[in-house]
Subunit: 398 residues, 2 copies
């Protein structure tokens, strides 16, 4: 299923026009739809031409409650929007632009209501929706301590080994350690950027971000070429919080951005977790504050999975897949068929049998995992245990 192209094009333009998380724009989008919203911004006289006798009464005042300055900013940026060029550029980079309604759209973002991203620019071989279903955010301070970096990397590796996707913000410090920990254990990771997906920020992480576009997913709300700002960093955090089943804060000072992510996660009903540290460390003070409030103290990946793993309606591996095999995309089905009947197999063997690149095979394996078809056992993958399934069905009732 793909959304109509005029909606996609309008939304691509709007990611250039509207700052992330602008709820005024969210309301306008809900009221007018993306194409008409864009049209209203592009009309010469500001969409109030027919104020005396409007054809549609709702357009007499198209943006009620939205200040003139904000609308003026939208109009100004509407003049420089070039969505066809942006879409083409991202396609050339092997990427895509997702909009609500797409099969790959992660529906948990709808919890953000009017602050929901207008669309998501995506690079990488995996299915974002499938990955997000079994993902955990690992976030924290840029200027972290060696203890924090070590802990973030260890947690991320442990999560990856248990088949969970590690989501973070590609920043220095905890974020980078988390991405590297996941990649380093042959796992899945998603970087949510506060800039265009073609912009390597921070520059010192250019190689890391490139690696994630090849083996994981790099996503963002901002169009190609857009640069991060302070407010974009902060608003990016709500996407990390909404996309994942829980957020783990590893190190954070008082009033740090990671606490914003954690509180956003809590307010969205996601699990909020914190890694304790020495009370003598200012970099743990923010985490401890969180742990004295809404967050749960966790000390390792097993405890995190125990908490976020109760995914009930989604696709718990114990209950087996929720989607019939014949609804899988052909490339995904091919990877599933490449798994041996009973025994676990390493990624390279599965990739060879499926005839796909290992990075793509891994992407599909995590997707199949989130759908309950396969499980990760240390470095190997195997089909979900049918006996467990059968035994659950036997005990499960109706």
């Amino acid at each position: 299923m793909t959304a109509p192209d005029h909606d996609r094009l309008a939304r691509a333009a709007l990611t250039h026009i509207v700052e992330p998380g602008d709820e005024h724009a969210g309301r306008a989008l809900r009221r007018h739809g993306a194409a008409r919203f864009l049209e209203l911004l592009r009309e010469e006289d500001g969409g109030v031409r027919d104020r005396e006798a409007p054809s549609d009464p709702s357009e007499a005042e198209p943006f009620p409650g939205t200040g003139a300055g904000r609308v003026e900013g939208w109009r100004r940026r509407a003049r420089t929007a070039a969505p066809e060029r942006d879409l083409e550029l991202v396609t050339r980079l092997g990427g895509r632009f997702l909009v609500p309604g797409d099969t790959e759209w992660p529906r948990q973002l709808d919890d953000l209501e009017d602050a929901r991203p207008i669309g998501l620019w995506v690079r990488g071989p995996a299915d974002l929706r499938g990955w997000a279903l079994r993902s955990v955010a690992v976030v924290g301070a840029r200027a972290c301590t060696p203890y924090g970096a070590h802990t973030a990397a260890t947690l991320a590796a442990g999560l990856a080994e248990r088949g969970w996707v590690v989501v973070s913000g590609a920043a220095f410090g905890i974020d980078g350690a988390a991405h590297r920990g996941a990649l380093g254990s042959g796992g899945a990771t998603v970087a949510v950027l506060a800039c265009g997906v073609d912009v390597a920020y921070p520059r010192g992480h250019a190689a890391l971000i490139r690696r994630i576009t090849e083996q994981g997913l790099v996503i963002g709300e901002l169009p190609p070429g857009a640069h991060p700002t302070r407010s974009r960093f902060i608003l990016r955090n709500r996407v990390i919080a909404a996309l994942t089943r829980g957020t783990v804060v590893v190190e954070a000072q008082y009033r740090s951005g990671s606490l914003v992510t954690a509180r956003a996660a809590a307010s969205l009903g996601r699990h909020t977790m914190g890694i304790p540290g020495p009370v003598t460390s200012g970099l743990s003070a923010g985490v401890h504050e969180l742990l004295r409030g809404e967050a749960t103290l966790v000390t390792d990946a097993a405890e995190i999975v125990e908490l976020v793993g109760s995914i009930g309606q989604l696709a718990p591996p114990r209950r087996g897949p929720v989607l019939p095999r014949d609804l899988l995309a052909p490339a995904t089905a091919r990877v599933l068929e490449a798994l041996p009947g009973h025994d676990p197999a390493p990624l390279t063997a599965i990739a060879a049998r499926a005839g796909t690149h290992p990075d793509h095979t891994l992407a599909k394996l995590y997707e199949l995992h989130s759908l309950g078809f396969v499980e990760r056992r240390k470095d190997d993958w195997q089909l979900t245990n049918r006996r467990t399934e059968a035994s659950n069905a036997r005990h499960g009732g109706t």
Copy 2:
């Protein structure tokens, strides 16, 4: 008020006969009273002489539900009990033997029900009941890290500066650091021993324990000369938990004795708190386990006081004293009168005006603090702010 001497003498004997926390003995004590319980143990034929026609039917079977082996052990130790000698020895050391009913008896120990101490051997100048009302236990591992020792000492100093009494077990590691932190900031501390109050255990803490007998309180359930055993250490912990308003665990491995204290505190309705540490430290693993359950994460003395300070019915300083001045013991009243009318004064000045030794003056000041008459301000003491009292009365209602 003093309990009748024959009860005190019998209880002194029973501390030699019965192991701490023996609920069978607690039941017998409740049923027969201390003097008759002791008599029953001393009777040649085991108190069942008149089984055919008992004078009191309850004495046909004096210890129902208690195994013969346990009773035999009591009888055997009853033969060697020498309570007069023990009481004389402790008096010579400047100590005393408290029993339920004494004014100085800390009534919160009654929460232990049949495991309540039979009596308490006490050395030191302070009033145990008054001190216990505003006390916090700081406990943890013997083989602690420098981080743990530093944190325990800092917490204890902070508690002492806020007028709180630090209770611990005089062991190496966290316990010692806590006692020293309190003493080092001119504060009050209580050591609860698992041996006689004349026995310096561990030997390496002989000087510390001596200092506490001079400036604080050294207490225990066991008679003079008794040595600690593994089970005595464990059972001592219930006294620490029951005596205090809350227990803070600083460092503890899985299955450590400090966790026993913390869980005892929780089951008695006391506040249970833990100091987090690195997840990479095995010495914080037990604390983290506790924090994932019943305990509250705390990072400094202010947070501890915030939690345990809501002492409502007891004597919150904001509401002012609950006891009329003329009910104070003469020595305590003399120290209260030695405080200047408005300004804070240092301990030495107050001691000089009261004409008492500084150690004794400090003991009385903490007692007056727990009764709401005085407050500690850093290193000085002052009368409780009458304006606060008046303003609370104005807002307080009825």
